[in-house]
């Protein structure tokens, strides 16, 4: 894979960046909508390389994060969050939102459900994206898993909630907006990891090394989440 086709700062990609705004709207117009669409697309483009993958297993799941920057995991008795972003500053900003909620929580620890984080994080991402005072959205995406919730939060503030017991698939991904790369990555993970088998230390090392080498990723993180529902 050459740098020209994958690198998000390559000129060829930059030129294509705002060509397809979606929703059937013409991007040539001016005003708030154009700015909003630009920010939305820009945030997605900045997340071309970085990703969080969740692979469902019988007892919980495996999180795999990778990209240009170090991803973060936030653990709590009720949930585990894996988040990735375009820059370490943006990852840190998202993490500080999560910490602000958990630190000042006026109820009990048992009441801190994944939906609480979802509610605040989604509102924050949406507010930043729609705020005309900021030039860029927050290019951060994350997966939250709790005993009864499987949540994906996207950079636009959109989210998806599923019941972990009723999921049809075993592989889930956020970030990685390069379709070819996403397909390759999922194929590679499909070959490397069998969700029915136990994840040993050797296997973890093998997965990390393989991803680092094949996708030229400076950072790859792996964490196993187990829930006793």
């Amino acid at each position: 894979m050459s740098k020209k086709t994958v690198g998000i700062r390559s000129k060829s990609n930059k030129a294509k960046r705002f060509k397809s705004p979606g929703m059937g709207l013409d991007i040539a117009g001016t005003g708030a909508l154009e700015e909003f669409l630009k920010k939305k697309l820009d945030a997605k483009m900045r997340l071309k390389d970085n990703f969080v993958v969740f692979i469902r297993t019988k007892t919980g799941g495996i999180f795999i994060c990778g990209g240009d920057v170090e991803s973060e995991f936030v653990a709590h008795q009720n949930f585990l969050i894996a988040l990735t972003g375009y820059s370490s500053g943006e990852v840190h900003e998202a993490k500080s939102v999560i910490h602000a909620i958990t630190e000042d929580w006026p109820f009990s620890e048992d009441d801190l459900h994944p939906t609480v984080v979802l509610s605040s994080m989604s509102a924050y991402l949406k507010a930043v994206m729609e705020d005309q005072g900021t030039s860029q959205g927050l290019a951060v995406e994350m997966i939250l898993i709790g005993p009864s919730d499987f949540i994906r939060i996207y950079t636009t503030g959109d989210y998806q909630i599923d019941n972990p017991d009723e999921l049809d698939e075993d592989y889930f991904i956020v970030g990685c907006y390069d379709d070819k790369r996403k397909k390759k990555l999922l194929d590679e993970l499909f070959n490397l990891i069998d969700p029915t088998k136990e994840m040993t230390d050797e296997k973890m090392t093998e997965v990390i090394t393989s991803l680092k080498n094949k996708f030229k990723l400076p950072y790859v993180g792996l964490r196993i989440a187990e829930f006793s529902s």
Partner: protein, 260 residues
């Protein structure tokens, strides 16, 4: 700009609007001596199947007059939680309203019920905030409930927001008299061996004693107490008045026979 957004969202997620005390100036709020004082007896203790809460029905008007003999001092704030108040009526109503709103709001926002511990923490912080900014609430609170794991918890929240967890608790002006009755059965309460009938009898005897001894608690001979239970099977529910009346009559007969 982002910091402002962050603050707004964090405040909304943390129920900031509820946590802020009403801006009542200190000089505009009547002092405790000026206000109507209400004496009460409320109690809660554990028994075999869960928790039993009891309260008298009298509302005093000052130290001399009786305002009502039909007041309900125990309230169901969520399917698994009951709360009982002793103190100034307006403060109790304010706290009750707050607790109901927070419970509803939490459920509608996050799709989960607020736990007993969560409600206690919230109310305790609110009372503490208010106490620090203005005059304190003149209301003591018992919150009792069942967790989703099936464990029963009884908490007391004091006037300054201090919270305590007990196997049994009595509050209000007649609380000491009621406690002396419960104290005799403390081992049975701690071991959770009391049946419903025994628990009902114990609560009625405790409320009878406080009603006789305390001027500001309702006398059982004049007004039947209100009693509620919290169990795993049925959640929080009030006991039928007829059942309480029968028990009350039996206790009154028994106590009066001792005087003869």
């Amino acid at each position: 700009m982002r910091y402002k957004l962050f603050k707004e969202i964090a405040d909304s997620a943390l129920f900031g609007s509820f946590m802020k005390a009403d801006p009542i100036p200190r000089q505009g709020r009547p002092t405790r001596e000026d206000r109507m004082n209400t004496g009460t007896t409320i109690l809660a203790f554990q028994y075999k199947d869960g928790i039993l809460l009891g309260a008298d029905r009298k509302t005093s008007f000052g130290y001399i007059r009786t305002k009502s003999l039909g007041a309900i001092k125990i309230h169901r704030v969520s399917p698994l939680t009951c709360v009982a108040f002793a103190g100034v009526v307006s403060d109790a109503q304010c706290l009750l309203d707050l607790l109901i709103r927070v419970n509803k709001s939490f459920y509608s926002r996050y799709g989960q019920m607020l736990t007993v511990g969560g409600q206690v923490n919230f109310l305790s912080k609110h009372i503490r905030c208010y106490c620090a900014e203005n005059e304190q609430f003149t209301a003591e609170v018992i919150i009792a409930g069942c967790t989703l794991a099936g464990e029963f918890e009884i908490y007391e929240i004091g006037l300054d927001g201090a919270k305590y967890k007990f196997d049994y608790v009595t509050l209000g002006s007649g609380g000491d008299d009621a406690e002396s009755v419960l104290h005799e059965s403390r081992k049975l309460i701690r071991d959770k061996t009391l049946t419903f009938e025994q628990a009902l009898n114990l609560a009625t005897r405790a409320l009878y004693k406080s009603g006789v001894k305390d001027n500001c608690s309702g006398d059982l001979r004049m007004a039947c107490p209100s009693i509620a239970t919290i169990t795993v099977d049925n959640g929080a529910q009030f006991i039928d008045n007829e059942v309480i009346r029968k028990e009350r009559d039996a206790v009154v007969r028994e106590e009066e026979s001792k005087d003869v």
